[in-house]
Symmetry: C2
Subunit: 308 residues, 2 copies
Amino acid sequence: MQYIKVFAPGTVANLGCGFDVMGLTLDGVGDLMEIGVEKGAEGFSIRNESGVVLPEKIEENVITPAVRMMSEAYGEPVRIEIRLLEKIVPGSGIGSSAASSAAAVYGINELLGRPFSGRQLVEFAMQGEALLGGTAHADNVGPALLGGVVLIRGYEPLDIVRLPVPDNFFYAVVHPDIVVSTKMAREALPREIPLAKAVTQWGNVGGLVAGFALGDVELIGRSMCDVVVEPYRKGFIPDYDLLKSGALEEGALALNIAGSGPSVFALTADYDTACRVADRMKAHFDARNVGCRPYAGRVSNVGARIVE
Amino acid sequence: MQYIKVFAPGTVANLGCGFDVMGLTLDGVGDLMEIGVEKGAEGFSIRNESGVVLPEKIEENVITPAVRMMSEAYGEPVRIEIRLLEKIVPGSGIGSSAASSAAAVYGINELLGRPFSGRQLVEFAMQGEALLGGTAHADNVGPALLGGVVLIRGYEPLDIVRLPVPDNFFYAVVHPDIVVSTKMAREALPREIPLAKAVTQWGNVGGLVAGFALGDVELIGRSMCDVVVEPYRKGFIPDYDLLKSGALEEGALALNIAGSGPSVFALTADYDTACRVADRMKAHFDARNVGCRPYAGRVSNVGARIVE
């Protein structure tokens, strides 16, 4: 049996206007796991040594459907052992499940001698997302695997565009102790939206993509607003408008809900501002007796990787 | 009185998915006018020597509101004379009115010593669009002034992002003898659209912007589809689906309706293919006894300019 340690980063999906089609990679927060692979043998096990509470049954772990699809595509017998060492808390909104699936399929692919492309790895890892949310989406697993900013141009067939992030670009994320299930967050949304709002939104998506592609941090900040989803979801987060105006006051370029929430993220042009914004967001939740975990760091161009 | 000759190119708005937010610049087709400016004097005249039928009253010419707003912003008396020499046929869908307004404000700005920025010129020229369509939009005047591909990120305030077009990138445009007024084309659209379709559309807008920003011609082709507007407007064009499949068969990367129609445009990776596609589209309309004017040329990075 061959073993490696793999890290896959936390990610922020949606990025405001890019609902369901964009995601971005965080540095300094993610899942760490040891993966063992033995060709010619059979079997699959997951041991959770992360200290984070996860479903006991292997069928309920997001890694399982991802690894299963990968094994089927591989077509030859292989024994896989996974030992979770560090884990993003599930339900955080910063791609906990995506980090697990991404690390697993990335590591297995390395140990098998890289039979699969990055796009195929995304397709495998998406299966883990389907276990949770009902639909297989790629806006967290894409960046968790590939790094940078990932645009999911379309799903039929899967068409992934990777954009680099500017070198000096930072995030503040706060994960408040509020439960917002993906299902709740989905059901809060209308099935139909005014065409005029859709046009505003895709103008911003265009601006956001252009901002990343051209390395224009100000344009990224101006474009990262959401007239379609945020109005329906901000009610899950206490005094969201005040939280946002506070972050912008501290110098954030933009603030929005991370994925389907409850985490909130802000982007900044320097690390000090990211820390100040994270503190300000923490103070916001503290003042409302809501516990929270703040993070600040660099937006990353690197996705899943071997660390040992 | 000082005189110059100015050319402003034809443009294609919308580009499929980028409804109301994107436009692209055509080479080899546009408006040519002579502009005279005399500081300290008063007056404004337009003489139409283009051979194209235009409204007789100066108040009904799209150039007038653009020049009027510009004169007000200038704040000092100035006499302006415009002589239209060549003119895109109005109602073509390739930015006839935008070419007129853009050439006028560009040329006047040059003669005044460039007191206004490109963005201000776009705002002036938009007033001409408002005369026709009821709302001031910039997806034709933006590229007519600035060249390349222009994204209108937002209108409040006007936020224009210019993207370069790849060097070897060509168009075929056919203008059929069908009347589709901007009003008719607007009224064909629903006021509300399914959220799922909006998401598909903004994934494509992201892909289209990324394609231009990264110079990825294949990505531009894949992204230039429209699930929101085209289904409602294609009925104005006889056997549109056949027209499209024919163009794709000839090697077009994508085909869509130019602006609000009735012109149809296709993009190609080489000039020969553009010519073949234009011929094929002409044959389509010929076979249905619809007269048409085909054009083929290079997509341009250059907007309004002095030619003499």
